[in-house]
Amino acid sequence: MTLAKGAMVAFKNVAHLFRIAAAFAIGVILFLVLRGFLVPKSFGEYGHYRGDALNEIASRPISYASHEVCETCHSDVLDVKKRGRHARVACESCHGPQANHTQDPASVVPEKLDTAKLCVRCHEANHSKPMDFPQVHSADHSSGLPCNTCHQPHSPRIEAEAKKK
């Protein structure tokens, strides 16, 4: 049989097409099965990520207990503090993270603080600080004496001076 140039010819044997289709179908099924196993259930719950990651991140333990927790026991300190200039300074701002202390107040005791080092963290004079923030040159101001020689850290204004005003 002779054919005109470029004429379409039907495949005489189509069996090999079925084999390719079968291989393709198996591939697709395998992909879907593996995907079902490997992609976590929560993937896509909120977006293109693992929804369970939210809970995992949220369930980490905390280190800073927050001042509300401190105030439930240390209301005496709160009474002093809330009348002074440090009213809005959180307890753990100076005392450090105390979540462990709130869990077990008896055996986990916060360490005593050295006011000579502590107070200058905020109050050492620096040109870059806002002008209205109270600052001192600690070397001139107290010549190395700890600040709590004169100031009570929870309410730092000196009582005698406060009364004069």
Partner: protein, 242 residues
Amino acid sequence: MNMTRRQLLILLPAAAVAWEHVLAGTPENAPNYKSAEHWWGMLIDITKCIGCGSCVRACQLENHVPDGYFRTWVERYVVQDWGFEHVHVDSPDGGKSGFPDLGGDAKSFFVPKLCNHCADSPCTQVCPVGATFVSPDGVVLVDPKYCLGCRYCVQACPYGCRFINPGTNTVDKCNLCYHRITKDLTTACCEVCPTGARQLADLKDPADPVHEFLKTHSVQVLKPHLATGAKAFYNGLDGSVR
């Protein structure tokens, strides 16, 4: 290992159940928290920041950030007169131990930095595996179990807020203390800030004082021209800050 077909067929469903359990993750830890009811951001008042570094230290302790890496840090800007293009910026150890006094009479101020938790964040868009994402409550989070450590997001963040944690070799960044804010606590940095220069803001909560503040102050975000939808709002932001 020798195993008959019968044994294998018995084992397979058991393995499937076990795998299901692995995929299920940890149970809900903050049962009263509904992520759809919040949209978190932060308010930063530069006029109040004293550069004490309390936020940087607190962040490190709360989130176990390795030394030399920062989820939040404080920069000091020094601007001579009108030289906005030639600012001097320093951040010794992220400002963790404060700043030495430079003296002089140049304009100088502190700028606390952290992830801006962009609503249209460039970093989450480039992640090839869905390991970083904007949560339904507007926090840009990292799923360390999915992160490959490919660093695309580190390059994509225009604010330089991401790093590769040398301990895990996965990306690390500020997650706005997601483990705290979902328990009705503020972030560690906001908790310890002695001057209230940093305040956590829930933009979906009509009672949050942030709304009144935004209404009555000249507030700016960093690199607004990038339209990232940044949610770290700066009050008193100088034009020299990049």
